[in-house]
Amino acid sequence: MMTRYEELLLMSPELGTDECHEIVNNLSAIIEREGGSIIKIDDWGVKDTAYPVRKFNRGHYVRMEMNLPTEAVAEFERNVRITDGIFKFITVRLPKIAEEA
């Protein structure tokens, strides 16, 4: 059963753009493998964090919006935890938009 999720990732500011893309591509591949699909990925770029995270005062935020079967979320989060470039992440279930007719 597919549900819409939103994933906000806080990544290290030292990651170059290519490493960042590599991480996002890895996660997208995992989502596809789990049978989900990506709706949107927007990159907030490097912003100041409200408090130091792992000794960095800035962090690279990436927001991913995706469709994912509910049982695949745990697997997806396990992969996010393994990736060492990601400091913090949050998965949020989005309300189901009215299915287009």
Binding site: D48, N57, K88
Partner: protein
């Protein structure tokens, strides 16, 4: 020694999110949430801000998410700009 019971007449408080539903109430817009948080970072009670219970619960949930994602600080003492000032 009689004190007249002054009737405290607060201006009518209203729930901002009921009045104007388009305001984005989620952790991705900390500038909206900052109006409901003291300068020390604590969540302000709904009896002071006048928000209704439904939206107050939503605010609390979103503020806690924003804090987790370092979009808002937990307390001012460890916030980045305070630390910067203390270092100069």
């Amino acid at each position: 020694m009689s004190f007249t019971k002054r009737k405290f007449a607060p201006r009518r408080k209203y729930c901002r999110f009921c009045e104007n539903p388009e305001i984005p109430l989620n952790y991705k817009h900390p500038e909206v949430l900052n109006d409901f948080v003291t300068d020390r970072g604590k969540i302000i009670a709904s009896r002071i801000t006048g928000t209704c219970a439904k939206h107050q619960r939503a605010i609390t949930r979103e503020v806690k998410r924003a804090r987790q994602m370092a979009l808002m600080f937990y307390t001012a003492t460890h916030s980045t700009d305070v630390l910067k000032k203390s270092r100069i």
